[in-house]
Symmetry: C2
Subunit: 233 residues, 2 copies
DNA sequence: ACCTGAACACCGTTCAAGT
DNA sequence: ACCTGAACACCGTTCAAGT
């Protein structure tokens, strides 16, 4: 953004190497997202971030009161980039697109995504986003209760799916003594039978199927009034 | 379990207070689950665990090679407690019961649950569990591909739902500068309209509805062959 | 205003040592 | 075999100080 390039004041004293761009919230946030993807959420520290930025860890605290504030800012920064589908579109199609857009955040920032997913969204930016999405459920023709409940069920699915796609197979804490492939086939035949469809390259299809299940429920409920399928056992 | 009470050898030297039960994997795991719920997953440390057990932090390392191994053992310990519904029952009903049983783990151990949910299940114990559950999807009449995909979509929903119920509203990192209630109604009307149905006491109903949506998809797919609803936009 | 660096109270874990 | 305690390489953050 604003690269003001500040002319270097040569005082003969120390002459900092290439006169670093001054710190700013924007620069810190950008670097933080990079460092998180390199080091993981656990490995991310203010000290490493400082190193990346060419400053002391403590300099960051002049722009953010705490590490938690910085992480919150990162959530907002990603959520504002989610494109809101045009209002002219069918509401269910808008919800579908939001699903894929939210998922994209996970795929673009897999190691940061668990923080996004487990983060309670109650900042201005994230509430604005939630408000838009919940509005789509209303526009789909749902009464307030069905709107609230189906939005939430939809977001449960979405959260679980993207968490699995980003943290499940790729990285994520895996068991320390895993089972060999031969044992797997012998001892856990159903897991082995499902295995081929669990390949990362095929997970997109699974995501689609689950998403369509949730979307069909929205359509069906809008048609038949009140939440159907509620007659649990 | 085995409280062997080992008679205290009085050597006149130090006379440890009530001659502590010797350490064991079982005792350590039990205490760890307590400390995690008291301190949270982040606040849980081997030092605090040692304090609780009346030993040095390092003594734990004689029973577990690392903190990660201990946490893995805790996942296994909880997963084995999940009751497997009798095979005589309708497969869909068995899946429903597994859903509620898994959810119970989250409610009994809310602060540990995110670790369970994000943990890749590939230990013997957890694979045995997965094998049973995937088998229920086969028993429901699904071909291998639908079995794999609907199991996974179901578990996405379940994971997302229980994560939200345990980490979402209760604790979990919440935004640092939240929005006031008046602003909420004024600026985010759809969120406000959904608010009443987001009360913790009403979340059980939302969980039920989403679960039934997923179960209905299993029934419908078993009836009509191959995964229905796959015709995404 | 913006940044530094020492210091504090924590971590997980290694290692040599004690019984 | 089981447990200890000092030590190492890390954390987030406070605070007084530098420019």
């Amino acid at each position: 953004m604003g690269s003001s390039k500040k002319s270097r004041k040569i005082k003969g004293k120390k002459l900092r190497q290439p006169v670093r761009e001054p710190l700013s919230r924007d620069r810190i946030e950008f670097a933080a997202l990079l460092v998180i993807e390199e080091e993981g959420l656990e490995g991310f520290s203010t000290r490493k971030l400082g190193e990346r930025l060419g400053c002391e860890a403590m300099s960051i605290y002049h722009h953010f009161p705490s590490k938690a504030h910085l992480l919150n800012a990162l959530v907002d920064r990603l959520v504002v980039t989610i494109p809101l589908p045009p209002k002219e579109l069918d509401p269910v199609e808008r919800i579908r697109r939001i699903g894929y857009a939210y998922r994209k955040i996970g795929h673009d920032h897999p190691r940061f995504f668990p923080y996004v997913a487990l983060h309670r969204m109650n900042s201005r930016v994230t509430l604005e986003f939630l408000n838009e999405v919940i509005g789509m459920f209303r526009d789909a023709g749902l009464d307030p209760e069905s709107m609230a409940r189906l939005f939430r069920a939809f977001s449960y699915y979405l959260t679980g799916a993207v968490l699995d796609e980003t943290s499940g197979y790729a990285k994520g804490p895996s068991a320390v003594d895993p089972v060999s492939d031969e044992d797997l086939v012998r001892l856990f035949p159903h897991v082995a039978a499902a295995g081929p469809y669990f390949k990362p390259s095929l997970l997109g299809r699974t995501f689609d199927i689950g998403l369509e299940i949730m979307l069909s429920a929205v359509t069906a409920t809008a048609r038949h009034g009140q939440t159907e399928n509620g007659g649990k056992k």
